[in-house]
């Protein structure tokens, strides 16, 4: 087919390209480079002087127990989210695809709805639900004759991270369900009919037809969830601020605290670079996969 090629060095092509390239360059790519460079310097928000410190900020991170605590909390959220969100999303999608006919659109719409609600609204509503004084959850627990955690659901360091996992699942399961459902619906019906003639039904059909058919989508869903788990910020920032006693501190909130509460911009940059490299690697995989999926 004959493609209408642009004349080489065409002025109009460059002009059409410019707005996107300038915005992405100025607000994403250049700041990313500056973050990497800045991670080798020591500077504060107000001072204009940058002092070169070599790898000191990274060495500081390596010996900072709070940095490692934040990383391990991120990993907890990543693993927990993959299990709850991709797992839960896959179960719901499988049921809605082949198990249920009546009402499936209504279910789908409601389960997906939290995805469009701002994480700030989600955070505050759940803070009300879990509130030790006015929260409905405590009222239910007490009505059942049980005693709620004395420090509150979000105030008890032993359970606060689990609560965040629950809230994140509440918001994101619908997204994964939709993604996986789209994958399921792309599997041709004939495959199931042919397998059924060969005696493969139910779980057997699921294992030999459904799973291979959505493998790429499942990997994509997992990647998206893993990236989201490393990037988590709004929910933690609003509900616990990283507390109690850093029990829910994550990379995003700790970086924010170091930068904007303590003014350690260089150190914050070093931790930001750890997040940047992690997210960039996973994001690169995601773009490659989503083109294939």
């Amino acid at each position: 087919m004959n493609r209408p090629a642009l004349p080489a060095g065409s002025l109009s092509a460059s002009a059409m390209m410019a707005p996107a390239l300038i915005l992405v360059g100025v607000f994403i790519l250049i700041p990313a480079v500056v973050a990497v460079v800045g991670s080798f310097f020591d500077f504060s928000m107000t001072s204009a002087t940058w002092t070169f410190v070599g790898g000191a900020n990274y060495r500081r991170a390596a010996t900072d127990p709070l940095f490692w605590l934040a990383i391990s909390n991120n990993i907890f959220i990543v693993v927990g989210s993959v299990i709850t969100q991709v797992g839960g999303g896959a179960i719901l999608a499988a049921i809605l695809d082949r198990g249920i006919r009546r009402g499936s659109v209504v279910y789908r719409t409601i389960i997906f709805m939290p995805v469009v609600i701002s994480s700030i609204a989600v955070a505050f509503v759940w803070m009300l639900i879990l509130d030790p004084n006015v929260g409905p959850l405590n009222a239910v627990v007490k009505a059942l004759g049980l005693s709620p955690p004395r420090l509150g659901w979000l105030g008890d360091p032993a359970i606060s991270l689990w609560m965040l996992l629950l809230i994140a699942a509440w918001q994101n399961v619908g997204f994964q369900m939709m993604l996986i459902l789209a994958g399921l619906q792309a599997i041709p019906k004939e495959n199931y009919e042919a397998a059924s003639l060969d005696g493969a039904r139910g779980l057997k059909a699921f294992w030999y037809i459904t799973l291979p058919g959505i493998r790429n989508v499942l990997v994509l869903a997992t990647l998206i969830t893993v990236i989201g788990g490393f990037k988590v910020f709004d929910l933690v920032f609003v509900t616990t601020g990283g507390g109690p006693a850093n029990a829910t501190q994550v990379l995003g909130t700790y970086t924010y605290t170091q930068a904007f509460s303590f003014g350690n911009m260089g150190y914050a940059n070093a931790m930001a670079v750890v997040l940047l490299v992690t997210a960039a690697l996973l994001g690169w995989l995601q773009v490659r996969l989503s083109r294939r999926a």
């Binding site: 080489a8 109009s12 700041p31 973050a35 249920i100 700030i120 505050f124 990236i227 709004d234 930001a272």
Partner: protein
């Protein structure tokens, strides 16, 4: 239907219904709490309000929600407009050009997709503050636009690859320039891509928190999420007003989502939030 498959069907319905109920409960709590009085919230946390009162909505509106709403509308509309225009133009050139350099341009734009906002908050804050653009609702639309462009460009790129080139060629034979072809032929026929991109970015920018937290420090210029967050420091005990404010911020999105579900879901596939 055999008895066994009937049991299975009931079990499957039960699983899905339970999760659906779990999803609805917090939304329900938000709405009924907004209609309660503060005293009622304390004394009867589980029940419906005795009488539906709009007092909490009035308080929320009075302490700043009205202004946040206007700011959110302004910032969202402006950023979505810039995103659609910049992304469609760029994607069109990328989809039609055969120059090898364009591959690198595509990679550069898509690379922006992999950079989390949290990892550049320090340089971004310094950039914006040294440019004197803190607390500007117009200026914040620019980084918002930047973060929407990579995904939207990919969306338009895929769409333009399948766009029938015959139409463009005919227009060019009639003497139309490239930009003219784009605005008069291609863009008017790009409805589905525009709808997907617009609704998705509108939801994202309406809800955005981190950039707004960093850049909009004065209450008068704040958007809904960061505005409501700022209010909770001052009015911490007023749960009903807080829930009313959140309902005002949330309900428009839920309505838009219900109306335009199809477009929204279609644009989700390639995204990591």
């Amino acid at each position: 239907m055999t008895p066994r498959s009937r049991t299975v069907a009931i079990g499957l319905h039960a699983i899905v219904s339970l999760w659906t109920l779990f999803v609805l409960l917090p939304v329900f709590v938000m709405v009924i709490s907004a209609f309660k009085s503060q005293a009622e919230l304390f004394t009867r946390p589980l029940s419906l309000p005795k009488q539906f009162s709009f007092a909490a909505f009035e308080r929320a509106w009075g302490i700043g929600i009205s202004g946040f709403l206007v700011n959110s509308l302004l910032v969202t509309a402006l950023s979505v407009l810039i995103i659609l225009l910049a992304s469609s133009l760029a994607a069109y050139v990328l989809a039609r050009s055969e120059r090898p350099v364009m591959r690198w341009v595509y990679v550069a734009i898509v690379a922006g997709f992999a950079v989390p906002l949290q990892s550049v908050m320090v340089p971004l804050y310094q950039l914006v503050s040294s440019a004197g653009l803190l607390n500007s609702r117009l200026a914040i639309a620019l980084p918002y636009a930047a973060y929407g462009i990579p995904f939207t460009t990919m969306l338009f790129y895929t769409f333009f690859l399948e766009f029938p080139r015959e139409l463009e060629e005919a227009a060019r034979l009639d003497g139309c320039g490239r930009i003219e072809v784009f605005f008069r032929i291609v863009l008017p026929l790009s409805g589905p891509a525009i709808a997907s991109g617009a609704i998705f970015q509108a939801v994202f920018n309406w809800n955005e928190f981190i950039l707004a937290l960093l850049m909009l420090t004065r209450a008068e210029v704040r958007t809904l999420p960061v505005g409501i967050y700022g209010l909770t420091g001052q009015y911490s005990a007023d749960w009903p007003a807080l829930m009313a404010g959140l309902a005002i911020a949330t309900v428009p999105l839920i309505i838009i989502f219900l109306l335009a579900q199809r477009h929204f879901v279609r644009s989700l596939a390639g995204l990591g939030k």
